[in-house]
């Protein structure tokens, strides 16, 4: 067991934990942040995406030991922000949400993209979302939602 300190959704946290435990499990089990989903456990599907120092990371691939000193944001924290409100509205208006299991990860991927590139092209969006699998929508409505979020959220990113 090791004491790991990091910032989680804006708050300083400390946890005494096996440092090899997956960040995904720590978030879901120890912190009860179940907005982070496990879809494949191998870093392919993106359902467990979180932001680590504002970079998108698959939390199933990251041992919690690597979180030491980092700033981690999950959907549970991000959903309290103005940027989330814009992204959510765009997803809703485009009908981009079906079963919803990939969506917290998609929203995190959207934030990660817009944070770097507030005015992305369609190809840039597809590229940015390509690490997040969705089996329901065929992606076009999600791509449109990201375009719409970028347009509505001018100045936020």
């Amino acid at each position: 067991m090791t004491e790991i300190e990091f910032v989680l959704n804006g708050k300083n946290v400390t946890i005494d934990v096996d440092p090899t435990k997956r960040l995904l499990d720590v978030l879901r089990e120890d912190f009860g942040l179940t907005g982070v989903k496990e879809g494949c456990g191998e870093g392919e599907c993106g359902a467990c995406s979180v932001l680590v120092n504002h970079e998108i990371v698959s939390s199933c691939l990251m041992p919690v030991g690597n979180a030491m000193g980092k700033d981690i944001v999950t959907i549970d924290g991000f959903s309290k922000t103005e940027r989330y409100r814009v992204i959510h509205g765009a997803y809703e208006d485009e009908g981009a949400v079906q079963c919803g299991f990939c969506i917290p990860g998609m929203v995190i991927a959207t934030e990660s993209l817009l944070n770097k590139n507030p005015d992305p092209t369609e190809d840039e969006i597809k590229d940015a979302l390509s690490g997040n699998l969705c089996r329901c929508t065929g992606y076009n409505m999600i791509v449109s939602a990201v375009l719409r979020a970028a347009e509505r959220g001018k100045g936020l990113w």
Binding site: R28, G32, T34, G35, V36, K37, E38, G39, C40, G41, E42, E44, C45, A47, T74, I75, D76, S79, Y84, I87, H88, Y91, E92, D93, G95, V97, Q98, C99, G100, F101, C102, I103, P104, V107, I125, K126, D127, L129, S130, G131, N132, L133, C134, R135, C136, T137, G138, Y139, N140, M141, I142, V143
Partner: protein, 696 residues
Amino acid sequence: MSDISRSINKQDTNAKTSGSIEYISDMKIEGALHARTLRSTMARARITNIEFPEIPTGYYIVDRSDVPGMNRVKIIFDDMPVFAEEEVRHIGEPILLVVGEDRAVIKEIIDGIKVEYEPLVPEFGYVNSVIHYDYEKGDGEKYFKDGSRIITGEYKTGYQEHIYLEPQGIIGIFEDGKSTVIGSMQCPYYIKNAVVQALGIENDKVRIQQAATGGAFGGKEEFPSLIGCQVAVASMKIGRPVRLIYDRVEDIESTTKRHPSLIKFKAAVDEDNNIRAMKVHVSLDSGAYIGLSGVVLQRAMIAASGVYTIDNLSVSGDVFETNTVPNGAFRGFGAPQMFFAIEMFINHVAQELGEDNLEFRSRHLAKQGEATSTGGHFRDPIIMNKMIDKVMEMSDYKTKRKQYSAKDDFRGIGMSWYLHGCGFTGSGEQKHIKAVVRLRKEKDNTVTVLAANTEMGQGAFTTLRKIAAGVLEIPVERVIYNNPDTDLVPDSGPTVASRTIMIVGGLIARAALKLKEQWVDGEEILIEERYKQPDYVEWDDETLTGDAYPAYSWGVNVAEVEVDKATYEVNIRNLWGVYDIGKAIDERIIIGQIEGGLLQGVAYGTIEVMDTKDGRIRQRNVTDYIIPTACDCAPVETVIMDNPFPLGPYGAKGAGELPLVGGAPAVALAIENAIGKKVMKIPATPEYIMELLEND
């Protein structure tokens, strides 16, 4: 009143984008233990002995000796055991559960269990037929003897894995003599009936609750009945709640998939180049247990003539049992296999006859009033000609088809025509399902829909609420639809077979009409409606003849592709579709169904490769089993044409499965156009395309 098709926001989007909605793995259940499955490592063997390590206190083994009722999962054929008996019949077959608090300890126990097997000879080919059906329309035999030109074709389709993003998961609770099962599912009452049989207890001692379900596509139709029984047995034995949540590897290795198939055609063509008679045979690989395979076979067989009228048709089919993971329901349910095959065959026949494929297909296209494959009738208007004209105009089909036919132009365009029978095949609704729905008007003038149909992303709750609100002329916000709980809602049937809007929505619309007539502010009123088969439907279960479905939805797709000259990878450039689903209850929801279904169909035809070696599935994760990413999606242009079905709510027919059906044949025909070779199997991988081009 505004048009019903105008889209509204879904009731659950907010909870889904914020991550606050609870899927089964997110639920915190006091005192719940984890379970993990010990599985067969042999394709076929007799279990001679199981040696256990020391089991620590608080950990449990649950196997067939713990099943108080019948150790069989009630599906259609009760052939699948809840836990393996003496003989295991496929790799991954569940033998027992290890249950306890700590998942690491559970894993140690599982690793320490030694199962001794006496190997038996497994079968992997189309050898052991366990179900055979045939049906006959007209009398075609003479055309195969009178000197007509005989053209044959043989087509193969592969597995398809659902990859719903949320893996299977279920929780069992046993309290005060009552078993409650909560989970990710399509069909609460299927699980209820299965648990009643496995526990051998009264009907009112079993309660099933649906949790938010993260995609299903048929994969959560019958499979959850198996794991529902397992956790029900485990929680009853142990007296504490038991959670069985699969990870992706376990899900891919051990849950149902789309049946691989082999489909053979033989057509007799007269001197005017018309098909006078056709013989078709379908082989489906069911895997180790039959499950729903017989019903899947029927839907495949009934689709044997596609959208074409063939006066003399002789169709047969077999379900072959093999020692591989059992196959089952998957969006389309046998139709995607057959529509790939018939669309390729009809084009190949035209090609052999030296005819223009469009002209040849149009001449055979079914018209209103003509007999269906099973000798029923297409009663309602068929607007395919209008749809085909539209899609050709949208895609500039004719010009491109000609242009891409030039040798060494690796671009191609292809068009598929298809239909999908809405609702259960034959007398299923009337004889087996007998759907019941209720509407309860509350004192506060809200209306609760009481039905067992589930939301799994397809928008059922929103659509069904819209239907009720529309008929009642009240705001949709005043109609409530909660996740089904069998203690609270009647059995309105499973959420499958493109039946939810047309059948269940139809019952809701009728109930709403009655409620409107009886409406009194401030009073509680309960209305019940039961399914009644339309009078015109006549079906014979023995001969498989008559009206197989009360209505048909129709579709046409065009796919435009470019095949890479060096790698033979297929790049999907554009997709177009025109659909007749009667009437869209919510346009945006329908477009979501269409775009998602179409991409699943296109991927089924191209990139989704799954195979077995010595009975073992070789693809273990989404790293090996490739589904499309955002970079693989092409622009999709969709037109929905109204053609209201008189008995559907607002004229609606089924729409959930239809859009998957046309994807594979459209893209396979486009590949043919690009490479100038006949595509005889899907997925049409780069390796297969290379083989076609090199075997010149």
